[in-house]
Amino acid sequence: MSRACDFMLSVFSMPVRIRAVPNLEQQSFRQGQETNNTVVTDGELIERLQGGDTEALAELYDRYSGLVYGLSLRILGDRQEAEDLAQEIFLELYQQNKYNPERGSLSSYLATLTRSRAIDRLRTKGNRRQILTRWRQDMLKTNPTLPAEHASLQHRQEQVRLALEQLSDMQRQVLELSYYEGLSQSEIAERLQKPLGSVKSWARRGLLKLRDQLGETLDEG
C-alpha cells in the first residue's frame, strides 16, 4: 500500500464508510472516531439517500450547506444564483447520488462538483469580472458566517486554514485565483504580470505543500 493511499484515507476522512480499508491502524482510527462521537456517518446517510430518505438529505444539508452555498456565493457573487446552485447540487446528490467514498471525502466531492458547476455558469454568462466586483462589494458588508455544525468538519476547516497559512503568498494567491475564479494559468500570469512558468510552479508546489501540510497536521493530531 502506498504512502499516498494511507494519507488520503486518514487526513480527509469524515466518518465515511470505506469499502477497502488499507490497514488496521486506519480502521481503529475510524471506528474510534465514530464510536466516541456516536455520529451517523456520511456513508450511512448516503446509503439512506439511495432509499429516498429525505431525513438523510436534511442531515447532509445541515452538514454541508455552508460549504456548498458559501463556495457557490464566492464564485458566482450572487445570492440568488448561489441558492439555485446549492439546490441543484443537493437535489442531484439525492436523486442521482454519484458519490463514491473510495475516491475521497463527501466534502471534497461536493466542493468539486459545486466549483465546476459554478464556473460553468460564470463562463456561460460571460460576465465574470462584473460579478466578482459585485461580490467583493457585497461580501465586505455584513455577511453571516456559519460555524460548522459537524465537529469533524470544523476540525478539518481548522486544519485547512493552518495549512493554507503555511504556503507562500504567491502560492496561495495563484491557487485561489485558479480555484475561485476559474482562471487559467495564462490568465493568472497576465493578471499578476508574472511569467507563466513561475505561475505553474507556484500552483503545483503550492498544491503539493498543502497536501504535505495537511498530512503533517494529521500526524500531529
Binding site: S2, A4, T112, S184, K200, L208
Partner: protein
Amino acid sequence: MKDEFLNSEYLNSEYRELLAGYVLGDLDSEELAQLQELLRQNPALKMEILSLQETLGAIPLGAELQRPPANLKSRILQNAEPSVRQENNDQVQRGEKLQSRLRIRWAWGPIVTGVAVAGAIALGWQNMQLRQQLAVTEAENQSYKIVIASDEMPSQDTWQSFKEVVSDHSNSLTRSQGPVDFATQDLAAVRSQYSQRIALSGKFPELRKAKLLGGSLCALSKTEGLRLSYKTASGEVISFYQLHRQGFSLDINQTPIPIQVFDGPNGLVWGDQNYVFVLVGDAPATMIRQLQRSLEST
C-alpha cells in the same frame, strides 16, 4: 523504474509536480504523455492523484462557510418529495444524466483519457483521420475529458471554447424553460429574430434530418454565436452552433473534425473563413456524421 518508485518513500519532485500539474489541469501535451507513461508503469500513483484531488477539493474549507437563507432547506426538501421528484426527473433526466457524466470524471483522468482515445478509434474515425495525430489534452478544471482528432495541438483558447460549447449544450438540456430562448420550427424566423443582434453566417445551414426546436444566443468567454436546437426522430436533442472564429485558433477548415467527450456527447467541428460550426449531441458519432452530411447537402 517501477521498483525505484515502489521503493522510494517520496516520489521524485519532478514527478510529484507532474501529478500536481495534472490535478490542476495545466499539463501540456508532452507532460501529459509523460504522465500517462508514468501511470502505465506505476498504477499505484492513481492514489497519489486522488489524494491531490482531495487536497484541491479541501481548499474551500479554508474560507468561512456561509449561512444559506433559512428557507433554502425547506425548498430543497420539498423538491425532493417523491411526487415532485418524479416530475422533475421526467423533465430533466436526459440533461442531468449528461451533466453528471460530463462533470464527475474528476479522478482516474489519464486512464479515462486513454480509454477515450481508444473509443475514438473504435468509432471508425480513423478512416478520416488515419494519418493525423490524435491530439489529446484536457479541459482546464478536469471536468471534462475531451478528445479531438487533429493534426495540430489546439491552443488553450480553442480547448476552452470547445469545453464551453459542450457545457452550453448540456446546460441547455437542463434549463427549466427548455433548450431554446426562441421556440420556432421556422429557421427564417430564427434568423430574423437574431440578425439584428449578432452577425450570422450567410449560409445559415439547416439540418434536414431533425426537427428544429428553435434558437438561442450563445455567449462564450472568447466568442459568441447562435445555438440552434434540433430533435432527432429518436428523441436526442442536438445542438448546432455557429460561432465567430475568434474563439478558435486551431486551423479549422471545411473538413469536419470529430470531438468526443468521454462517456458523453459526440460532436463534429468544421468552419469557414468567418465562422466555426459545431454539432454536438448525446447521439452516436455515426448519427452526428449523418446529420452533418444532411446539412452539407442543404
